[in-house]
Amino acid sequence: MVRELEFPNPSPMYGERTNMSEPPEKLPVVIIACQIMQEMLKKLLPDGLARDVTYMDYGLHRYPNKMTLSVQEQIDAVAEPSLIVLGYGLCGNGLNGIKAGPHTLLIPRTDDCIAILLGSREAYMREFEAEPGTYYLSKGWLESGSNPLAEYHEYVEKYGEKDATWIMDTQYQHYERLVLVAHDEADLEKYRPQAKEVAAYCQRWNMRYEEILGSDAYARRLVEVAAALDTADSNFVVVPPGGEIRQEQFI
């Protein structure tokens, strides 16, 4: 069981110590997160909670194999046994197989960042069941060029106009809805013009454009849980030292 870790409560025990061991201390918190969470975490992280924060390139999710290696490398570079918060979802199995080593890992239990931007797993499942043929646009994906319009331009350059169009049609003709999702109004506004350009292109498959305002509730809980790991519920995956992230923990 990954979640049945006992974390010593540091304060009230001091007077009762009978042996010579050091007082139990909280693990230092280290954050390794996708850039998509940067703004949210900057606002939500209380001073002094995280010893170290690293934001990783937006585009890693496009290459899950490389994502596994990059994130593992970051984890392995943390010298002192720590509570490492991974600001990621399973991301196309990008986290599958990552080893905790001497650290404890805390991860939102979600397939990808859409649930994080929507504010909860429930919100994501609701949207998903309502309309499976949805392509989500998030700030991270717009910034990293992971959207149909950017892809089209990339393919035109590589394969020429005719093949690019054929590749795009083959990949996207079944989608019915394009949704810009953001955790706050400001981001919705900021990315609306870009999203609408993508939406105009996606008209070729009759995709309709919608916006969904999510929240930072999931990210907020992640920060709270990082400060008090024993409060981790089923919305989080906790991997103890020596453990490994496995897909089953997310399913």
């Binding site: 399973l90 069941e129 499976p132 590589k158 054929w166 590749i167």
Partner: protein, 212 residues
């Protein structure tokens, strides 16, 4: 392998449809058997693509182009293969599971299995468990292949297997599953008969099930 067949494999790998067609016709003109061209030119090319894709060295657009090149060559060969009266290896029912709109990988499996001599019925995408059940009754396949590209939709593979059980059909078919997030341990967990990590392994698995 003759030089022309290895050139054909390269045309498939590079996604060059025109070359694939020309080389197939040249090979036929040289007197090579259609089955030989398929087995030793097209299939090895596509095998390579599947493995490289899974390893992260090839990407979706390249795989699509390769699949198209293979399909173009298949269009030339298929009438000849049928004419030659090739014995069918078995029947495969294919579909992408409920809630999932991804069909590129599944289409590829379908094409490769056809190439390997199976009769393939492709139900398309977003197929509910009860629709798989109905299709198994109607088509009477030896093998049911399910695809899912999302961890969110993988669960539906388990639901489909359960639905087959409840309909009393589970024992008459082999179930194989695949798709980017799918793993062998997931296949074991939901009681599938097999898992394939790429289209070429799906063909091997299907052959193994069919005993050919």
């Amino acid at each position: 392998m003759s030089e022309i067949l290895s050139e054909l494999a390269t045309a498939v790998i590079e996604g060059n449809s025109d070359d694939a067609i020309d080389l197939t016709e040249d090979a036929l003109d040289d007197g090579l058997e259609p089955q030989n061209i398929l087995d030793n030119g097209l299939m090895p090319g596509m095998d390579h693509v599947g493995v490289e894709f899974r390893a992260g060295n090839m990407f979706v657009p390249e795989v699509l182009r390769s699949a198209r090149a293979m399909q173009s060559a298949m269009d030339v060969l298929k009438p000849l293969l049928v004419e030659g009266g090739v014995e069918m290896a078995g029947k495969i029912l294919l579909g992408t599971v409920k809630g999932d709109m991804h069909d590129i990988g599944k289409n590829l499996v379908g094409m490769m299995c056809e190439g390997a001599g199976f009769e393939v019925k492709d139900m398309g995408k977003n197929i509910a468990p009860e629709d798989f059940v109905t299709a198994v009754k109607e088509f009477n396949p030896d093998i049911v292949g399910m695809s899912a590209l999302l961890t969110t939709t993988m669960r539906s593979m388990g639901h489909t297997i359960k639905a087959l059980q409840e309909a009393g059909l589970r024992d008459q078919v082999k179930v194989m599953i695949g798709g980017a997030p799918v793993t062998q341990s997931f296949a074991d967990k939901i009681g599938a008969d097999g898992y394939a990590s790429n289209a070429a392994s799906a063909v091997d698995l299907a052959k193994q099930f069919a005993g050919v």
